[in-house]
């Protein structure tokens, strides 16, 4: 398993290199001048030139490229072009916010999705099944920013349970929970929709297997059949989907972070894109790629936990 992990991480290196090169080229192909965004539209051509020199944008492109690639591996990710702060600091500052949001919504999604999916499968073609399927379809097709605003209107304006500006406060536990709750519910509901659908179809598959019939014939209690026999086997596709959709979750977290005004990678990347902050964008893309690689690896490793037959070589 250790060798498997090491090999998988090694495979990630060329992926990272390719992404870094692409990102480096892409952010520079897009028209727009970081110096102009920093100095504003009244800046003279001379002031812009000085700013470009200060940012190192006047140097040959290959020189900038080598410096960037070298920097990533030596831990020097450069400084944000707009704020002048080290890129790595900026990213590490907000990374915990995104991680906790992702985990919280994953937990909410699984808590709702897995039981609901199983329940739906057990009551196939009954009204509860139809209701679940319609509900999850609704969850899948709802844009994250719309549901976010609806949640704000309901819980912050009407009921006044949560502040509108959650701001990611974390001084006390209640402040932390208050700021995390709505964004996590927003993403969690979307996640729940995905998980419900996969769990349902996967459960239907395993409930139709011969060993289930055998277990029933032997008089095994229904509770044990469902949870120990059917569910364990149905979970593998669910884990795969959860792993895959973590990517989608990160994408949706961009919108969620903006609407709830929560710090995080998503908010950072949108700001960096608008301001053409090349260095920050590059750093963020490296992190995103790395996160996806790690999530995929963790998904593969989870298979072994669920199904002892899975061997890593």
């Amino acid at each position: 398993m250790l060798r498997f992990t090491a090999r998988r991480l090694l495979f990630a290196v060329p992926t990272l290199l390719a992404v870094m090169t692409m990102v480096f080229v892409l952010v520079r192909i897009v028209p727009g001048d970081p110096a102009q965004t920093i100095l504003g539209d009244q800046a003279s051509a001379e002031a812009l030139q000085i700013m470009r020199e200060r940012l190192g944008l006047d140097r040959p492109i290959w020189e900038q490229y080598l410096e960037f690639m070298g920097g990533v591996f030596t831990g020097d990710w450069g400084q944000s072009m707009v704020t002048g702060k080290p890129v790595l600091d900026e990213i590490l500052r907000v990374l915990p916010y995104t991680v906790e949001l992702t985990i919280a919504s994953l937990v909410i999604g699984s808590l709702i999705g897995i039981p609901l999916g199983a329940w739906s499968a057990l009551h196939r073609n009954q009204w509860i099944d139809y209701l679940t399927r319609v509900g999850s379809l609704l969850g899948l097709s709802f844009p994250a920013f719309v549901s976010a605003i609806l949640l704000l209107i309901a819980f912050s304006i009407q009921l006044r349970w949560f502040p509108v500006i959650s701001g990611g406060g974390r001084a006390t536990f209640s402040e932390w929970a208050l700021s995390l709750a709505l964004p996590a519910i927003n993403l969690g509901l979307i996640m729940a929709a995905y998980i419900t659908r996969v769990t349902r179809s996967s459960m239907l598959g395993s409930l139709g297997e011969d060993y289930i019939r055998t277990a029933r014939a032997k008089g095994v209690p229904m509770r044990v059949i469902v949870w120990r026999h059917a569910m364990r086997n149905a979970l593998i596709p669910v884990v795969t989907v959860v792993g895959l959709y973590l990517g989608i979750l990160i994408g949706n977290s961009v919108l969620t972070e903006i609407v709830f005004n929560r710090p995080g990678l998503g908010k950072l990347i949108v700001g960096a894109l608008g301001q053409r902050d090349y260095t920050l964008l590059q750093g963020l893309m490296v992190i995103y790629t790395f996160v996806i690689v790690v999530v995929n690896l963790m998904t593969d490793l989870t298979y072994g936990l669920i199904d002892p037959r899975v061997k890593y070589q």
């Binding site: 539209d41 704020t83 605003i149 709750a181 700001g271």
Partner: protein, 524 residues
């Protein structure tokens, strides 16, 4: 794995989390005596008044810094300039030597000591240094800045300028920073900017907020507010909802009629519409055919229906533009008579006369910013009626800014507010030296060059009446040449809760945000 146990554990954990949600709401402004302000931006820029010129940061600088002189709070007209750090000033007859007498006992924030002439000299030199300032070109006319004694500042100019006082107001490079702090911190000054204003730097949380605290030693008296919490909220809906829920006491508004109307109807909300206006102009690139023909440009002007724009943008937040220089600027002259009125048949006839009976097609690059794009779409429809087809390529905002500066768009829709003296607008948009795609280029998209002589002469003219006359001639020439078609002027919009007493009448603010002064307070 025991799934049931796992599920139970998770359920328990979330139960604990939910239990915590009964915690009390964040305190609203009046309870804490802190003014909560929401701005439409993801984050601050560089928090150094000599570096950043963005709308987001300018308002804050206005609360933290002083100039030698200032615009009377709530106004944005150079005619209301009054003493700030300087108690009085004199100018030599030729307008080249200016002497300012400083107020005594002004304290720099956070114990950096009394402000003296040395600080002012340092600050103005810093603002003039292109390595440390974005406004260095404004100060190119300074020959020297000296401190004859601790409370006197002498500025000597190379040649007279249209508004020396304008350069030393609490705006852009005129903001005075404290020397000791700036030297001590160097490039880190933006992490803890030190000035002399009513509010001083408290704490900055990236992408979240900038907290300012009241300056107890402020020379006009201790502020009534305890502090300001300036919050960066890029999402329009989140900002509006936070204002509605009372979490924000003051909020940046959208320059949009529906926003103004909706917010006015909100309980306890006051909408402020203020100067300076941002003027929307369609600049016509006269270096490109067929716009090099004045008859074509005239046809475009005749096909423009300004009334329709007013209906579209809303009369509460916009007014018709009538000159190459926005209204309210020192030296503005109404050119309604010079610009051709709306006349669709005339426009078609003129196009035919210019050899385009079947109409023309113009290439336009435009930003995707919704507020601006809507205007361009109305313009496109109006032009189409006269047989002028606009081929619009919609690009992202930063791309737009880069491409229009490379001469790639035949019609450039630009919306801007500048320092309210005719010279700034005339120089940046209509002087040949500012032509885009040249080394000295700024924002002369039209390649306009008809009024260089008047613009330059007015810059050094000492007699205000003659100066105004020169500016008027410049505007006449530019309007007659049709370097651009001014459409409308969009005013700045903010909203406050009705328990906020700004302490002055808000007519305008050059920093584009309402000043928060020592008298601003919550009504009991």
């Amino acid at each position: 794995m025991k799934l049931t146990r796992l599920t139970a554990g998770l359920a328990l954990a979330s139960g604990v989390a939910l239990g915590a949600l009964t915690a009390p709401q964040a305190l609203a402004g009046p309870d804490t005596n802190i003014l909560n302000v929401g701005i439409a931006a993801p984050d601050a820029g560089r928090l150094d008044p000599h570096l950043s010129a963005t709308t987001i940061d300018k308002a804050v600088f206005g609360w933290m810094f002083n100039g030698l002189v200032r615009f009377k709070p709530g106004t944005a007209s150079p005619e209301t300039i009054e003493p700030d750090l300087a108690e009085s000033w004199t100018a030599s007859d030729d307008g080249l030597v200016w002497t300012f007498n400083l107020r005594k006992g002004v304290q720099c924030h956070h114990g950096y000591g009394e402000l003296t002439a040395e600080d002012v000299v340092y600050s103005l030199n810093r603002a003039a240094d292109k390595e440390r300032s974005s406004f260095s070109s404004d100060f190119g006319v300074f020959a020297s800045v000296e401190a004859p004694d601790t409370h006197t500042v002498k500025i000597t100019l190379k040649n007279p300028v249209p508004s020396l006082l304008g350069l030393v107001t609490n705006y852009h490079g005129g903001n005075v920073v404290c020397k000791k702090a700036a030297e001590e911190m160097g490039a880190d000054f933006q992490k803890r900017p030190i000035g002399t204003g009513p509010f001083m730097f408290g704490e900055y949380t990236p992408q979240q907020s900038l907290k300012l605290v009241a300056n107890p030693d402020y020379f006009r008296g201790k502020p009534a507010l305890a502090g300001i919490n300036y919050q960066y909220i890029p999402s329009d809906s989140a900002r509006d909802l936070a204002f509605q829920s009372g979490e924000l006491d003051m909020v940046y508004g959208k320059q949009d009629q529906t926003w103004a109307e909706r917010t006015k109807k909100m309980d306890g909300a006051v909408v402020h519409v203020m100067e300076p206006a941002e003027m929307s102009v369609m600049y016509l690139n006269m270096a490109s055919a067929p716009l090099d023909d004045i008859r074509v440009r005239r046809a475009i002007a005749m096909a423009t229906n300004r009334d329709q724009f007013m209906e579209f943008k809303g009369r509460d937040v916009t007014r018709v533009a009538n000159s190459p220089v926005p209204q309210g600027y020192l030296g503005h002259a109404d050119m309604s008579e010079v610009f051709p009125g709306y006349d669709l048949a005339g426009a078609k006839a003129l196009l035919a006369e210019a050899g385009h009976p079947d109409g023309i097609t113009l290439k336009v690059i435009h930003t995707a910013l919704p507020g601006m794009l809507g205007t361009m779409e109305v313009f496109q429809a109006q032009m189409a009626e006269a047989g002028i087809k606009l081929d619009i390529e919609v690009v992202e905002h930063a791309t737009f800014h880069a491409q229009i500066r490379k001469d790639l768009s035949q019609v450039v829709h630009y919306s801007a507010a500048r320092f309210p003296v005719a010279d700034t607008y005339l120089t940046q948009f209509y002087h040949s030296a500012s032509t885009v795609n040249t080394p000295t280029g700024i924002t002369n998209f039209a390649h306009c060059a008809v009024a260089d002589a008047e613009i330059e002469a007015a810059r050094v003219e000492q007699d205000p009446a003659k100066q105004k006359a020169l500016w008027k001639t410049a505007q006449e020439k530019i309007a007659a040449e049709l370097c651009g078609v001014p459409i409308y002027e969009n005013l700045q919009i903010w909203a406050t809760r009705d328990n906020v007493d700004l302490g002055y009448d808000l007519i305008g603010s050059l920093t584009l945000g309402p000043p928060v002064t020592e008298t601003t307070q919550f009504r009991k």
